[in-house]
Symmetry: C2
Subunit: 643 residues, 2 copies
Amino acid sequence: MGKKVFHEVVSLESALKNLLNSFKEKVRCPLSEEIIPVKEALNRVTAEPVFAKLSSPYFHSSAMDGYAVKSKSTFSATEKDPVRLKIGESAVWIETGDPLPEGFDAVIPVEEVNIKEGYIEIYKAYPPYHDVRPVGEDIVATELIIPENHFIRAVDIGAMLASGILKVKVRKKPLIGIIPTGSELIEPERIEEGFLKPPTLIEYNSSVLANLIKEDGGEPKIYPIAKDEEKSIEERIFKAYEECDLILLNAGAGYGKEDFTYKIINKLGEVIINGVAIKPGKPFIAGFIKNKPVLGIPGYPVSAFICYNLFVRPLIELFLGVKLKKEEKIQAILSRQIFSTIGVDEFIRVKVGKVGENYIVSPVGRGAGLLMSVVRADGYIVIPSGSEGYSQGKLVDVYLWKTKEEIDNTIVCIGSHDNTLDVIYNYLRKKYPHISLSSAHVGSMGGLIAIKKGEAHVAGTHLLDEVTGEYNIPFIKRILPEKKVVLINLVYRIQGLIVRKGNPKNIRNFEDLKREDVIFINRQAGSGTRLLLDKHLKELGINPSEIKGYENEEYTHMGVAQAVASGRADVGLGILAAAKALDLDFIPITEERYDLLIAKEFLDLEIIQALLDIIKNDKEFRNAVLALGGYDIRDMGKVIYEN
Amino acid sequence: MGKKVFHEVVSLESALKNLLNSFKEKVRCPLSEEIIPVKEALNRVTAEPVFAKLSSPYFHSSAMDGYAVKSKSTFSATEKDPVRLKIGESAVWIETGDPLPEGFDAVIPVEEVNIKEGYIEIYKAYPPYHDVRPVGEDIVATELIIPENHFIRAVDIGAMLASGILKVKVRKKPLIGIIPTGSELIEPERIEEGFLKPPTLIEYNSSVLANLIKEDGGEPKIYPIAKDEEKSIEERIFKAYEECDLILLNAGAGYGKEDFTYKIINKLGEVIINGVAIKPGKPFIAGFIKNKPVLGIPGYPVSAFICYNLFVRPLIELFLGVKLKKEEKIQAILSRQIFSTIGVDEFIRVKVGKVGENYIVSPVGRGAGLLMSVVRADGYIVIPSGSEGYSQGKLVDVYLWKTKEEIDNTIVCIGSHDNTLDVIYNYLRKKYPHISLSSAHVGSMGGLIAIKKGEAHVAGTHLLDEVTGEYNIPFIKRILPEKKVVLINLVYRIQGLIVRKGNPKNIRNFEDLKREDVIFINRQAGSGTRLLLDKHLKELGINPSEIKGYENEEYTHMGVAQAVASGRADVGLGILAAAKALDLDFIPITEERYDLLIAKEFLDLEIIQALLDIIKNDKEFRNAVLALGGYDIRDMGKVIYEN
C-alpha cells in the first residue's frame, strides 16, 4: 500500500494542531442537530439562535391589585378636587396579571383610592400605562433569547417557554465509543464471581472515560472488552465505526507485541499521531478510518486521564461548537524543587494549600499508574518541554481540579503520618462539609520546617529527644525558636515491629533484624519513627549496615505495613493501627506521644477552630480513634506547650 | 387554635437563620442513604467514607516488557564481567502488567539485555523490585479513597472500581415537590391546542425551578397546576406531603385574596417566615407541616429565581451534607449610580465587561417580572439594606453567573442600538464559540462617553451634525479629542416612521405627528434617532409640545416598534428592520450612516480582531444583515476616520 509507517514522537503543540486540523477537515463539526422539547434541554447546546415567538406578557396586564381606569379621566384629579369614577363602569376591579379591559390604559392600586358609595375617589392624575405591564415588557416577540452555541440553562428554559417556544434545535451529543482492550482485563462485576486472580486486572478506565465524557456533554458507549488479538479488536472497531462519532481504544497503544492499535488503524485507515512528548501519556495514538477519528488512549490510568483532557475534550468542543469550562488557574509557590525531563511537557499532580496569604503547591506521586494521585490531588502544574525543572520557591501556575473556595477552606497539615489524621478528615467533613484537610507525609522534622517556613497550618510530630527523653519540645525550641506556636496532644500510640500474620520468621526484637533471613523496611530520614529506630539501635550497639533493607525507605506507616504484607520485607517499625489495618502481627516496643504543632497566627481561622472542635469535643471521633487500636487518648486536645 | 398570625417582614439574615435552624431541628439531615452501583455514582454524595477493599495492583507486577530475575543473581554483574542467566530458568520473559513469577523479585527491561544462545547477558546489578510495580503501589487495601460528604467524580469511580468496590453508599437525592398555583396558568404545551388567550398565562416557573434543583443534585417533581382555590391547593399539598422531602408552592405568596399559601400552611402547620426584606422576592413564605418544610416562592420569575438561590439551595446543602458551588466573585467598577431602598437587601442583575485592566459593571432591568434580565445578565450585585445606593465609580463585589473567562472574552459594546448587533453576536459565536458580545443601549452619545471613559471596547453611533450634515466625526472630535480611536462603518440604514400594519391612521410624515388622534413614541435623549427627529422637527418648525407622547421614551428600535405593535402608540421613528421584525408598516424618511467606534488600544485584542473578521469577511453575516431589510452594506468594514 506504500503507507507511511512512523513512530515519531512529536511535541504536544504540533500533535494537537495536527489532530484538530485533520479533524476539522474530515469530520462534520459542529455535529448535526436534533430537535428536542425545551423542558428537556438543560445543558444542551443550541444549534441555532432562538428568537421569541410570543411577547411576554402577551397582553397589557395589571401590575397591581386595584382599579383599571382611562388615564385621561384622571388628569384633573387633585387632593382638593378629587375625581370620582363609578366602579364597574369607569373604574373596573383588576388583579395583578389580569388583562386591561378594552379601552382602559392605567391601573390605580387599591391602596391609593377611597371607595365611597359605588365610586372610587382619586387624588392625583395617573399617566397612561401607570402600573400596567405592557405587552413585551419582559420579552418582545422576534427578539433574540439565546444565541447559537450556547449551553442552555434553567433560566433560558424559562424564557423560551415564556415566549411560546416548546422545542429547540440543539447539537447532537457526540456518541463516543470506548473499546477496552487487554486479554488480562475483566469487568469489575466479575470480581464477585471469583474471576480476580493473577494475572487478571480490573478494567476501570472505561468507566472513568465514560463519566468524563458524560460530564463534558458527550454520550459514552462502552463496548465489551476486546482480547489482545487483532481480530477481536477489529470486530469491536467495525461495530463502533458504524455506531459512533469517535472511537477510543484503551489501551494497546505502546510498542509491545500485544499493542495492536497502531497496526489496526494503519491497516484500516491512517495514523496521524504515534507518540507525543508528554509525561504521562506518551504512547498516545490518533488516526482516522475514513472520516471516523480513532484515538489510542494509553492504558495507565493517569496517562488515560491526561490524554482525555488533552485530546478528547477539544474534539468534544468541536463536535458541540462550544468551549468547555477550563480549570481555574491560580499562582502558587512551589514548596520543593521538581526535576523534569527536557523535551517533554510534564503534567505533575499537586496539592495546593492556602497558608496565610500564600498558596503553597507541592507535587504528589508522579507515576502514570497512580490513579490515587489524581484522586488526592487538587490540580496540576505543567513543566514545559524546554525546562529541566523548577526550583523551590518559584511562583507557578496551578490548574485546579477543585474550586478556589475549597482550597481556601483546606487545613494544610504537613509532617509525620498517623492514621488518626484520616479519621480527623472524615469527622471534619461530617461536621463541617465545607472544610477539608490535606496532609502531606514528610516526617516530623519536615513538619517543623514547614511550620517555620509558613507552608503549613499544622504539623504532626513525635520527635524523641535522645538526651532529655522529652518529646517534641526540645526540637521546637531548637528549630523554630522565634515562631509563636502551640503544641496540642493528639494521641499516645504504640510503636512496634510489624511482621506477617503468625510471625513466620519468629522475630522478637531489634536483635533479630541482624539475621541473614530477615529483610527490614525502613522509614525515611527525618521521620520520628526513624529517630526512634536509630535510638534503639544505638542503645543496643547495632550498626545499621548489619540490617538488610535498612536503606529501603517508605514514607508512611501504611507503606511499611504494605511492604510487609506483600512479602517485600519481613519486618518494619510502625504503629499498631497500620498492622491491624492489614491484618498483620505486631510486637509492641514503646508508647510515644504524637502531637500537633499549630502556628499561632492561624489559631483563629475557622478551619483551625473546626479542627480543634473535632479533637476536643467530638465523641464519635474519639471512639473511632480507639477502634483503630493502639491509641491512648488521655491527653487528646491538651495544650502541651506554647510560646 | 390560638396560632400566631403575622405578616412581619424580617431581614434576610434573620429569615435565613430562622429557616436553617428550624430545618435542622425538624428535618433529618443529611438525608438517609441508599446503596447504588459505583458506575452510576457520578456527582452523587458519599454517605460514608470509602475504604479500599483490595490493593491495586493486587500482585507484584512488571512495570516493563523484559525478563523477570532474582535480584541476588545480578549483584556481581559489571560491564566487563556480565552475568549470564538462562532464559526460561533464571530469566523469564515477562510483559508489562504480568505477575512476577514465584521467587523472582526484579525485572530487567528488554532494551538492557543482550540475548545470546538461550541466555541473557546483563551488565549491572539490579536491586530488588527494580521495574516492579509492588502490591499496593497505587492503592493499599483499607486506605481511605474518598471521605464522607464528597461529590463523586469520574476518577473517584475509577479508584473505587480499581480497589474492588462495586457499590457505594450515597445520600438520597432530596425529592422536591413543585406545586404551581394560579387559575390563569396553563402548561406551555397547551399553547399548541389554542388555550393561550387573555387572561391565561404560560406557567414556566416550575420548569426553571425543576432544572435548578436538578443541577444542584436534587430530584424535582412537578405537580399539576392547582387552581386558586383552597381545596385544589390542599389536595396537591397532601399528595406532595406523602411523597416529597420539601414542598415549593409557586405562587400565591402575596397578600391578595387569591394568595392562599399563608392561610393553608398556617392551617395545616406553622408559618415561620412571612415576608423578607429583599428585592425582588419579598413575599417569600416558609413554614412546616409537621416536620415537612413548605416554602411559598413568589410568582414573578426573577423573585422565584432569587428565592430559590437564597432559600432552597441552602436546604439542598443540608439534605446532602455538602456545600454547593458558589458563584465566583469579582470586583468591578460601577458604570453608573444605582439607587436602592433603605431597609431592603436588593439583588441587582448586572452586565460585566473587562475593558482594559478593569471590570466594568452596569445594572440591567430591575423589574421582578423581567426574566430576560436574568437570561442576559452576567451576574448580580447586592445592595445591603443599610445603603441607599451606590455612586458611580464605586468598586463593588459582583457574583458571576458566567465564568470569569467568559467575561474576559466578551466584547463590551455600549452605545446606539441597531439590530445588526444581534446578528453580529450570532455569527461571532458561530465562528468563535468562546467569544461573546454584550451590548448596552444607551444611545450614540452615551457610547462616545463610554469610549472616552474606558468603559467600552466598541460603540455604535449615528450622530448627525446639524451644521455640517456629517455623521459622527464632528462629535468624536468634540467629545473625545485626545482618545486614539478608529471609526469603521457597519451599515447604512433607512430610518422612517413605524406605523401599524395597513397604516390605519394614515400617517404620512412628521406633520401628522401633531394630529389630535396620533400618539407618538419617542427615543431617549442622546440617541441618534432622537437627534434625527429633533433636526427634522426644527426644520419643519414643529414644536415638540405639539406632539402627544413626545415625552414617552424607549431605549431601542424594537422598543419603539413594540409600542406601536401593542397599540400603546400609533407611530415612532425607527429603522426598517424593527418594523419588519414585528410585521409593521414603514414610511421611509432618510438613509443614515451607522458606524462602530473602536478604542485603538483594544484593536489588537483577539476579541476585537474576531469582531472585525466577522464584519469584514463573513459572507453569511452580510447576507443575514441584508435579509433584515433596510440596510446597505456598501461600506461595511471600511475605515471612515482614525486619529
